[in-house]
């Protein structure tokens, strides 16, 4: 069980190091484009999506062609169609949650990843944000999950 620990730490270090250098933000891409027509961060977002999609398709192709590579088949769970998901309760909640996530993250000045990077860089307001963030997680685990979990 040491592999996930090392792997997640490594992924975090790479995200933090390159994220600080490139100022990447998953909210900031759209925000900068809408505000000042700056496409720099949006390019990073599109590159992230395109690379992950191509890698997934390539791996699943490999796992179909060669039987030895069957561990590369990443799509273990199959998803419902778009219209079925639109009608389901979780779909509506995800849509509404996305609106609030986008609005509040824009007002806060960055997505959670960007706030972690800024906190590592020494910004006190981002450190306060992280304080609220982890307080929210603790509160969710101990109180809210028992209340909400039933109907989600």
């Amino acid at each position: 069980m040491i592999l996930p620990v090392v792997g997640s730490l490594f992924i975090g270090l790479i995200f933090g190091y390159l994220g600080q250098k490139s100022r990447i933000c998953f909210i900031g891409g759209f925000r900068d484009f809408l505000l000042v027509r700056d496409k720099m961060l949006l390019q990073g977002l599109i590159a992230f999506f395109a690379t992950s999609w191509i890698t997934i398709q390539f791996f699943s192709l490999l796992s179909i062609i060669f039987k030895d590579f069957s561990f590369l088949n990443l799509k273990i769970v199959s998803y419902p169609g778009l219209f079925e998901s639109l009608k389901s309760r979780f779909g509506i909640i995800t849509f509404a949650g996305g609106i609030f996530l986008g609005l509040l993250s824009t007002l806060a000045g960055g997505c959670p990843l960007r706030q972690h990077v800024l906190a590592g860089q020494g910004r006190t307001d981002s450190m306060t944000y992280l304080g609220g963030f982890y307080t929210g997680i603790v509160l969710y685990i101990f109180i809210l999950e028992k209340l909400i979990g039933r109907w989600i």
């Binding site: 792997g7 992924i11 933090g16 998901s85 990843l113």
Partner: protein, 160 residues
């Protein structure tokens, strides 16, 4: 380090390519597999880390098969450490005092709870959409509407 290398590192496209490849390969390479598309999530990984601590204190066998409950995922700590190293290297690290601290606390608090309800931070929404999750597409549509509203509010504030 040469100037050319630093220039590549500060390119968002380079970040996107490297990070996305790492995140996708995390499932077969680092065994970060169930649930699907779990290479990165800024809200779910700390939650699982907390679950891991709780299950170790109480000596309970975890019911869930999620990987983060069996092994601690240190992603967010890695992000802070990596950003600190990078800012020290570029001499960009400095403590900046801000004024609207209470508001930032509330923002973080609400965003964490919403993220846990929809099981994704903005980063994982993109990753889930790349895996073909229709819920993630709905989330991204919502995100776009939310960002549009936020931009309108920012513009209104700037005008006054």
């Amino acid at each position: 380090m040469s100037a050319k290398k630093t220039k590549i590192f500060s390119n968002p496209i380079f970040f996107g390519a490297i990070a996305a490849f790492l995140v996708v390969i995390a499932a077969p390479l680092f065994k970060m597999s169930p649930p699907q598309a779990y290479g990165i999530c800024i809200v779910c990984h700390p939650k699982d880390f907390l679950y891991w601590i709780i299950s170790n204190i109480d000596q309970i066998e975890p019911i869930n098969s999620f990987i983060g409950i069996h092994a601690p995922l240190l992603t967010t700590f890695g992000i802070i450490a990596g950003s600190y190293v990078s800012s020290i290297q570029d001499k960009e690290f400095r403590l900046i005092k801000a004024e609207n601290l209470f508001l930032m606390f509330i923002y973080g608090f609400v965003i964490a709870i919403i993220g846990l309800i929809i099981l994704a931070c903005p980063t994982r929404l993109v990753l889930r959409f790349a895996f073909g999750d229709p819920f993630a597409l709905l989330g991204i549509f919502g995100l776009l509407i939310g960002i549009g509203l936020g931009v309108i509010i920012i513009k209104g504030k700037a005008r006054n």
